[in-house]
């Protein structure tokens, strides 16, 4: 089995937000929930870089560790998923997550949280693959159809890469070697305790 990862090559990201739009559309994400977002660092200054960020599907995921009801699980492809049937909306995963991935629909006043929603790596949830209930709760399940997450698939500059960690790391390595620079594999050190030398 592959070890699925995301890698955003910030030197290629043009901040078009197509990944964000693709995610929202493919997964029918509710209003106000952002599974993926693009953030620009040093906006308007020389050397600004944009990074597309979502759940990084960490090794030894902090969200899973702190969840009081243990609603997280890791698939054979190393995708971190959770059960909305078990989630109690306590917000602890958001405190622990280094990437701000968990999102909560508002269910009442004063920011009270509903059941958590986050990037599923287009892998659905605990329900049967391809079922209507799985789609309704978690969105698309492209991985079971042999497809990668749509955000990365339709990235126009191939900045956002998805796939087996070793393969996308190799692609990034080759790019860095060829063009002679790279701002790093954003989040890899934090998520996987490994980094790609640039």
């Amino acid at each position: 089995m592959a070890r699925m990862k995301f890698l955003c090559d910030a030197d290629r990201c043009i901040e078009c937000n197509a990944c964000v739009t693709a995610c929202k559309n493919e997964n029918e994400v509710p209003w106000g929930i952002n599974r993926r977002r693009v953030v620009t660092i040093n906006d308007g200054k020389p050397g600004e870089r944009s990074v597309s960020m979502a759940c990084m599907h960490c090794t030894d995921a902090p969200c899973a560790s702190v969840c009081p009801v243990s609603c997280f699980y890791t698939t054979a492809d190393a995708v971190v998923l959770h059960s909305k049937d078990l989630c109690i909306g306590c917000g602890y995963c958001f405190y622990a997550c280094p990437f701000g991935a968990p999102q909560y629909p508002r269910v009442g006043n004063f920011g009270s949280r509903g059941k958590m929603d986050k990037c599923t790596y287009c892998t659905g949830g605990p329900e049967a693959d391809g079922s209507a209930i799985q789609y309704e709760k978690y969105g698309a399940n492209r991985l079971s159809e042999g497809k990668l997450p749509l955000c990365a698939e339709m990235c126009s500059t191939k900045s956002l890469l998805a796939g087996d960690g070793d393969i996308i790391a190799q692609i990034y390595n080759d790019r860095v070697a060829k063009r002679g620079y790279g701002s790093g594999a954003w989040g890899w050190q934090t998520a996987y305790r490994e980094t790609i030398a640039t």
Partner: protein, 334 residues
Amino acid sequence: MAMVSTRIRLVAAAIAFLVLATVATPVTAQQINPTADAVKEQQLLAQFKRIEGLGTIPDTKSYTIEQPQGRQWREYQEVALPWIGTIAMLGMIALLLVFFLVRGMIRIKAGRSGVNIVRFTGFERFIHWMTATCFILMALTGLNITFGKLALLPLIGPSAFSTWSLAAKYAHNFLSFPFVLGVIVIFCMWLAGNIPNQVDVAWFKQGGGIVGGDDPPAYRFNGGQKMVYWLVVLAGTIVAVSGYLLMFPFYGTTIVGMQLAQMVHGTVAVLFVAAMIAHAYIGTIGMEGAFEAMGEGTVDLNWANQHHRLWLEEEQARVGPANLERQPSATPAE
């Protein structure tokens, strides 16, 4: 005419540009390389501990893309807090057990007189038990967040545990309101009797009648009770403030603020629970005749004489020794 002037202007501009370019080129080409100056993830992390930028959605907290300090909070939540809680609570229970085996129940030395004196009014008892009930339920539902998945989840399975935990979360949130109200009323109604004074120093020096055979005099509240009072007021305030910060996410807090609030809330809460276990012990099996003060509201005259002599004298002076039995006291004793 117009054509000529445009052409002249263009030529002038071209010359000016060339002059500027020859002056400026060596600087831009050799010293400013936007690519080389680009931000690097590792540099930013080492410099700022977190990486922030600008986004295009209204959710401004999403502009932070990386904040690895969640790891320290995770360590606290998964390792430190369970240990602090276990040691504090089990330690307290073990301590009380040993104490009970050694000391036994503290008896009324003179035996029961059969005459009762009012100690707590109906209102005082109602406030006490309202706060106590909320406290116990909030302690159980709160401990469920930390210990539930270790102790309860394997027993009842994920589905039942999740249903219970969701109900527990709502109970914990909503019971906080009567609890905080109770703490505020307790603070006001018993403040006068809980100002520390010289009598308390003497009381502690003589072991409070708990350690050793002495029965040091005390007013309505002795040194130990004053400690419980101030603990409830202080710990109650801390858990209330930190709890409401967590209940209303991002109202005046950032993610770091909420991590801190949760750490304060968890630590103070488990210590609070440990302290209240001791309070419940001395109010029930630890001391003969103590529970009825908060139960029926009256205590035996000999109990009052043994544990709260100065208070009894005050009461006798106020209503007269003959009229003590079942006399409702309109105002607190002091």
